[in-house]
Every structure is written in C-alpha cells, then in structure tokens.
C-alpha cells in the first residue's frame, strides 16, 4: 500500500513556535512566588569537609533557605547501575565542582551573594587524575572507600561490575572470541598503537535548568530541561528516598538540546530540598555556562591500546583491545558507556579473534556520562585509524580494505549476534563515490596540502530492560493526541511520531497533537537516548493507534452493521472496507454532552494503549557472547554511517580546514528525509568539533577552559560551504522497525574523528593518534614524521 505520510518531508511540527519566538523552554518558565537557587561547589578536587558554617548566609535578608548535607537524606543514586552519588557532598568532595551547599533566595544575585557567605573548612586529601595511576592496585588516592557497600542494580550491570583488587575501578567489560594468539600468528601484518580522546562537553544551547516544588502533602513536582523524564524520577526517588509515585516531572514542550547531557540529575534534587526548606515555594536553578562545562557530564576521556592483525589481502585475523574510560568522580551512566565500547567492535567488522577489555575508573575530576555515541566514537577512532594505517602499509585502497572486512546481512558478529539491516557496504561505496577520486589523491597549493579520508562508523541501540509506552486518545472531531514521555530535544521526534500516527489513521498531520511530557498523565518511557525513539516509541505509537482503532471499530460496528474486522478509518471517517460508500464520522460513536463536548456511551474514552519492548539475549559476563541457541541479538539494531572528508592542512601552522564533507547513513527507512538529513549534518557540528576543536583541559582536576571563548565549538565558518557537503540516506529496511525505520541520532557522528585523522594523514603523511587535531598536535606529528624520514635517509 502506498504510504502517504511516511517518507515525506513535513515541516517540523514544533517549528512554528520556534521561529516565532513563542516556544517556551524551561529556561523561560517563571512560577508565582518562585525563588532562585544557587549551588556552592567544591574548589578542591578531593577533600574532607571538616565544617560548614551557614549562619552568615542565613542572616542575609531575602535568603529563604540554606541547605547542606544535613538537610538531605543519606541516600545515593546512579543511573548506570552503581548508586555512588549523593545530591550533595557527604563527608567529602570528589571533584572541583561537587555541590557542598545551596541557597534559595528572592532573586538570583542575592542567592549568589549568600553562597559567598558560606564558610567551608576542608581537609585536603591526596587526589588522583591520571586514569593509568588510578587503575593501579595501589592508587595515590581511593575515591570511593565505600565502593563495595554501594547498592548495585540491574542484572545486566551487576554482571560487569567486577572490580577485583583495583579500588578505583568501577567496571570491567570483556569480550573473548576465538584465540587471539593464533590469530596474530596467522597475520601477515600486525600493528599496535595507542589512541586517546579528550574530555568533551555537550554544549547544549539551552543551559541546564529546573524548577522544583514540594507541596504540603509531600508531592514533588519538577519542571526541567531534561531528556528522560522517567529516569529523572528514578534518580530523584533514589536520592530523596520518596516513592516514585509521589514525583511528577514536567518537561516543557521545547528543550534546547540534549546530546546525552540531560539524562543525569544536575540541580533537580537540590531544588527539591530547597523548596521543602523554603516553605514549599518553587525554586529555580539555572546553571551558568561555566557550571555547564564544570558540573554537568562530559564525554568519557579514553586511553585505548589497539593491536590489529591482518592477512596480506587485508582480512582481519585478530584484534586485541584495552581501554580505560575516565569517568571522573562518580560512575553515573559510565557502566553502560564502558560496556558500549565493545559495541564499536560488534557493529563494525568481522573479527574472528578478539580479546577485549574495557575498564572504567574513578578520578577526581568532572563526572563523565552519556554523550551522543555513548562510548562508541572513541574506540572507532582507534579501529578506523588502524584500518587506514594497515591499508597504507599493504598498498590497499582504504575503501577496499573496509569492504573486505565489513559485516553484511546474515553475518554473525564478534559477540554472536546475527546481523540484520546492515548498510555498511552501500554507505562506504556512496561516500567513496561522492568524495571523488582516489582516496590517496594529493593536491598541493604551497603550504596547504590536500588529502582525503574515509571512515566507517556504527552505533547500536540498546535493548534489554528498555521499554516505551504510549497512549493515543481520539477526540470526536478526529483529532489524535499522542501521550508519551520521549522528549523532542531538537531531533524532531514529535514530528516523526505524528507522521506515524497520521499514517495509521490516514489523516492529515494537522490532526495530530503530540502533548508535552507530564509524567502525571504520560506513560513511561525508558530513555530519550541510544537513538531509540524512532524505533521504540515509533513502534509504541503504531501499536497504540491500532489499539485505539480496535476500540473505535468495536463501537462503530453496530452503527455500520459490519464486523469490526471489516472496518477501516480515513480522514476521520469510519468505513466498511469493501464498500467505501458506507461510512460514518468518528463523532457518530460519541453521544452529545449537552453542556459539554460529546462523550462515549461506554468505555470512558477512546484511549489506545501500548508498550513496546524488544527481546534481547543477555551476554555472557566473561566472554560477552550471546547464547548459541538464543535470539542472537544483544542490541535492538545497528545503524551504519560512513564519512568522507577532504582536508587542507597548513604545514607551517598546523591548521586543518575541512574542504569537503560526505556522509551516508543507513537509517532503515527515513520517516522524514529532511529531518534525517538534519541529523546527518550534525556531524559538521559535533563530529567536526570533536575532531578539530574541542577539548577541556585540566590542571590538577581543574578545568582551565570552561567557557565558549577558550572551548570553541564549530561556527558557520569552521565547516565547508553547502556545495561541498553531501549527505546520502541509505535505507536497508529493518524488519521490526516502524515502517522499517531504525534510529540514527548517535551513529551520525561516530566516524568523523577517524575520517578527519585519515584525511590529514593522506594530506601530510602524519598520523595523529591523539584527538582533537589542534594545530600544535598536527605540527608536532608532521615534525615527528619529517625527523623519522630524515633518519631513514
């Protein structure tokens, strides 16, 4: 059947409000009688709190509450599986930025003034910043003495929290496949290199902000700029020791960016306690841009050692990999990130022998968390750099070596999954074609040397305990209202869900309403993250629409004298499939309300309900393998993306300019191609930023560049002109995706870093293994190469 609403470019249904300035974000929200809060944060990376004196702050006129750990329950939370974090530092601080006290006052500047009046006595403790020191059995400092007493949740996470005798390790994830020693013996060429990636910040344009209010009978309402309302509820329930049924989370319709950085709590819990202490008045906290860099989650910096063996024709015989992810002071969602490092391998190539060890360690610095790509972009930098290095040594084309090793439909991957919906080959071929010429082509213009590079990337979407629930209410005028708790953080999910509902009801898009998330009315969703909303919530919307239609047809069958199975609906009219002339409007199944709109004679209302889950195998703890007789699926799907980049490198200054950018993504099915393109183009912002510009520098745990002047993100002039940007949508239908669709929001930035590294190599012959590729790193790599060449002569 021809689809009317799927695969079409409908404008973003939230767009009108956004271009007119009517869109209200949490940032714009002001409540009656609202107070403003500020948080006092630790200025030491690791210290015992000896004393806190809040008397002066409390006496400042206009201050309504000052809170310290004494006002918080002794409870811990943690979304990744280890409950190791409290809302406010208890006993000691573990990084520069740890909350120590908070104030609520009549206005923000007063709260700021009060913060300065709080006196804290610290006893400084030895600190550890280097993850390689921290991972030792005798590290310079132990960050969580109580680690072994923390509550660990979830069977999945329990399995990989094996910390052994290393006190700062919180997680160790393993994959064992085949025999790597034998694999390396068979190899014609073996490379072994270390790659590193830095601490990177999400830089959402809308700062983290929230309002919380406890009412007198103990119910907590939180308004917040967040991604995953029900994860916020769980964290608050754990951290405040209140039942989740007493917490209501509302996310205003518009959220100014997430990228993984609005999954974990920032100030919601502190606002809640401030509200309780301030006579139940609502309290708002908005983070400054500096706090966003220092005190919200960052991308895990990683140190990665990769050894790859290949035959003479470039076929991978074995890989050995060891990484240390630096999670900072608290594990947060780090357990999942550490495990996900392995997904970069399972979604990428056929690897007959693999020994994989991914460690997560605590250090005394800013907490790392979920960041678009969720642990996958870092190892892909290592893998895809290696593929290029190997191709060069073997005299192979970078495209050819990848095509030789990629996974295809039906292949078994390195953890025993059977691959389905795999667009690697098409993505790579398209990128190579549009990038043009041989990848080795070099053109020089004086000091500017030109080169091209490609890379393949992939990103899985998680499964396991994840679920998405949806209600679909049908009004008597044919309006369809979708109630769910995924958040539209700019990716366009509300438009996608509306298109799916429009297709199911065969009704124009303007008849679909996606209401903002309010957990008092909208059912549960696990997470807006892991690029899962199109797949999970898309399916839940379809199922809920079908449930609603069943209810409609049951009521209409009497009026139409036909079996419910013979009915269908189009443009708000219910009709008998065989004879389209026999039809009634939806309003006919309702009865007039007199003083009110009409209502249903039975059943309360047309309310379709559905849960979408996707069954998975659980992987063996020691080997990472799926059971042989299982579903042969440990993730929902993999999305493949290839990037092709042309750069010009200035050999005198080390500057890198991207002059051409090609990206192809296998999205299963593009529900809205322009929205898909918009996601693919995001590589030009977050991918290119990570490759060329973005790094938070630390000095003894202190971030020295927590501002947009010293931490640059790409501007309109950092990226190539539109004629030099090409995006390609590849569609390998996924059998269980809604209309074949997969998600793509994270996959789209996974290959940028290695693609740029490879292009730089092909321009100047220098291999950079440390990201980002700032001019000084590029220059020193060029110098190193030149001196090596001289030695050879």
């Amino acid at each position: 059947m021809e689809l009317k609403y799927i695969g079409k470019n409908f404008p973003n249904i939230n767009g009108f409000e956004k271009v007119t300035g009517e869109a209200k974000y949490c940032y714009d929200l002001v409540l009656q009688n609202m107070l403003w809060g500020k948080i006092l944060r630790s200025s030491f990376p690791h210290a015992r709190i000896a004393n806190i004196n809040t008397e002066k702050a409390k006496r400042l006129p206009g201050v309504r509450a000052v809170v310290t750990y004494k006002d918080f329950p002794e409870c811990y939370y943690g979304v990744g599986g280890i409950k190791d974090e409290s809302l406010i530092a208890r006993g000691k601080v573990r990084y520069i930025g740890d909350p120590v006290a908070a104030v609520a006052a009549e206005d923000e500047s007063l709260a700021e003034e009060a913060i300065d009046l709080i006196e804290v006595e610290y006893e400084e403790l030895p600190a550890v910043f280097d993850p390689e020191e921290s991972i030792r059995e005798n590290p310079p400092a132990v960050i969580h003495e109580d680690r072994d007493k923390y509550i660990i949740l979830g069977s999945m996470t329990r399995s990989i929290i094996a910390w052994g005798s290393r006190p700062n390790v919180f997680c160790h994830s393993k994959i064992r496949k085949g025999n790597v020693e034998k694999g390396f013996e068979k190899a014609y060429l073996v490379l072994e290199d270390r790659f590193t990636t830095p601490m990177v910040s999400h830089v959402q344009l809308e700062p983290h902000n929230c309002i919380a209010q406890f009412n007198l009978n103990g119910k907590l309402t939180v308004w917040a700029s967040i991604q995953s309302p029900y994860m916020t509820i769980q964290q608050l329930a754990d951290a405040l020791d209140i039942p989740h049924s007493r917490i209501r989370v509302i996310t205003p319709k518009h959220i100014g960016g997430g990228f993984g950085g609005k999954i974990e709590l920032t100030a919601e819990g502190i606002c809640a306690v401030l509200s309780r202490e301030a006579n139940n008045r609502p309290v708002k906290i908005r983070l400054t841009r500096e706090e966003m860099f220092v005190c919200t989650t960052v991308r895990h910096p990683m140190i990665m050692d990769l050894k790859t063996g290949v035959t003479k024709d470039g076929t991978i015989t074995a890989m050995e990999f060891r990484s240390i992810a630096n999670t900072g002071a608290y594990s947060g969602i780090g357990v999942i990130v550490v495990r996900n490092v392995g997904r970069a391998f399972s979604g990428q190539y056929k690897i007959p022998n693999l020994k994989f060890d991914s460690y997560g360690v605590y250090t005394n610095q800013t907490k790392a968390g979920a960041f678009r790509g969720f642990g996958v972009p870092q190892p892909l930098f290592a893998i895809e750099s290696h593929m290029d290095m190997i191709a060069s040594k073997l005299g192979m084309d970078p495209l050819e070596i990848r095509l030789k090793n990629i996974l295809r439909e039906g292949d078994t991957n390195v953890i025993g999954e059977r691959m389905h919906s795999v667009g690697s080959e098409e993505c790579l071929n398209k990128v190579a074609r549009y990038l043009g010429g041989k990848s080795e082509e070099k053109v020089s213009k004086g000091v500017w040397k030109r080169g091209k590079g490609i890379a393949l990337g992939n990103k899985y979407s998680s499964g396991g305990f994840m679920g998405s629930c949806c209600f679909v209410k049908v009004y008597d005028d044919g309006t369809i209202e979708i109630r769910q708790s995924g958040t539209d953080i700019g990716q366009g999910q509300n438009t996608v869900l509306a298109q799916i509902a429009a297709e199911e009801f065969d009704t124009p898009l303007h008849n679909i309403i996606v209401v903002p998330v309010d957990t008092d009315y909208n059912p549960l969703d696990s997470m807006t993250g892991s690029q899962r909303q199109t797949f999970y919530m898309g399916n839940a919307v379809r199922l809920a629409c079908n449930d609603a239609k069943r209810q409609i047809f049951a009521l209409a069958s009497k009026k139409l004298n036909a079996s419910p199975d013979d009915l269908d609906i189009s443009n708000g009219r219910i009709f008998v499939k065989e004879s389209q002339n026999t039809s009634i409007p939806i309003s006919d199944i309702f009865i007039p309300g007199g003083f009110t709109p009409s209502y249903l004679p039975e059943g309360g209302e047309i309310l379709g309900k559905a849960t979408f889950r996707y069954a998975m195998d659980s992987q063996d703890v020691e080997t990472g393998q799926c059971p042989v007789n299982g579903l042969r699926r440990a993730v929902a799907f993999y999305t493949q993306v290839a990037h092709g980049v042309e750069v010009e490198v200035n050999v005198v200054t080390g500057q890198v300019k991207i002059t051409k950018f090609v990206a192809a993504a296998d999205v299963g099915r593009a529900i809205n191609p322009m929205l898909v393109q918009g996601q693919i183009e995001a590589a030009l912002s977050q991918g290119v930023g990570s490759a060329l510009l973005e790094e938070l520098f630390l000095d003894k745990g202190k971030i020295v560049n927590p501002n947009l002047v010293d931490y640059k993100i790409p501007s309109a002039l950092c990226v190539p002109q539109n004629k030099d940007v090409k995006t390609v949508i590849v569609e390998t239908y996924h059998m269980d995706g809604p209309f074949g669709a997969k998600g793509l929001g994270e996959a789209v930035i996974t290959p940028t870093l290695p693609a740029v590294a490879n292009a730089i190599y092909h321009a100047v012959g220098a291999r950079i293994k440390e990201a980002p590729f700032m001019p000084e790193r590029v220059l020193s790599a060029i110098k190193e190469k030149t001196s090596k060449n001289n030695e050879c002569i």
Partner: protein
C-alpha cells in the same frame, strides 16, 4: 539602587519603564517585557542566542545595558511576524528544516535579517560571516545557510516581478 527611566521602542511599540541601571538589554526584554523569544546561552556574547536588532544592526543583547538602548529601536523575534504572516525568513527557516532544538533560531533569524536588509544578494560566504556569531549545536549550519540563501533569492524574485 535608584532606578532610571528607560524610553525605548521595542517591536514598534513605545515603552517608558523604570529599570535598574545595571540590567542588560536581554534581561530587560525577557524579564520586564516578557519577550522570552530572545534567549541567553552564555552571558558573554559568544553564543549569539540573545541577538536582537538595534537600530538596524544585529547586536548581542547580553553585552549591552538596557539603558544603552535609550530612545532607540529594538526588534526581537516576536516583532518579525507581520500580522498572521510569518516573515519570509521565518518561513524559510521552517520550510528548510533549519530549526532543530530552536534555541539558536531567534538570534540566527535576526542576524540573517540584519544581513538581508543591507545586502539583498549575499554570497554564501557573506551569509556565513553574518551568522558567525550565532552558534548552532544541532545542525551544522547547512540548512540554516540554505534557508537564508533561498529566502534572499525568493525576495529578489518577488521584487523583480
């Protein structure tokens, strides 16, 4: 703190309001007039979310005191619509999917308007220079630049006919 009387035109309306002389223009627009379409993303003039048009020029309203706009004319995103009709730039942003999270959009649209008011036929490079002070984190600028180019082209065609 003694307040001072600010006389200002915002979106074609005249206001006389007593303000704390320390407040910035963005604070005035958002807190005194309730015009929350103007955003604030950094507070020090880098992100550009607070961009408004002051006397025909795109400015960062977080870097100006409200009193700086004394007797001057300010245009914010709320003043772009002409009755029920979207301004052609708003239309172009909407139709070209140049909006993702939307937090940069008001400032971006106003920077583009200031450009097109001065230069009806900008090159892509001129457009990129005009919005270099407006950071977008979602989309990589492709669709934004496209929207501005298409809008300029359509306006020239309309004027031509």
């Amino acid at each position: 703190m003694l307040k001072e009387r600010l006389k200002i035109f915002v979106n074609g309306r005249y206001y006389e309001i007593d303000v704390d002389p320390r407040i910035t223009l963005v604070e005035f627009l958002r807190n005194e007039l309730g015009l929350t379409g103007t955003k604030e993303g950094c507070g020090y003039g880098v992100c550009g979310a607070c961009t408004v048009i002051l006397q025909g020029k795109a400015v960062k309203s977080c870097l100006l005191l409200a009193l700086h706009a004394m007797n001057k004319e300010v245009l914010t995103i709320e003043g772009m619509r002409e009755g029920d009709n979207l301004h052609p730039l708003q239309e172009a942003f909407l139709n070209n999917m140049a909006v993702q999270c939307g937090f940069c959009s008001p400032g971006m649209i106003l920077s583009a308007k200031a450009l097109l008011d001065e230069n009806s036929d900008p090159s892509e490079e001129e457009i990129r220079y005009a919005i270099v002070g407006n950071l977008c984190r979602c989309g990589g600028y492709v669709k934004i630049v496209d929207a501005i180019l298409k809008c300029a082209e359509e306006r020239r065609r309309d004027i031509g006919t």
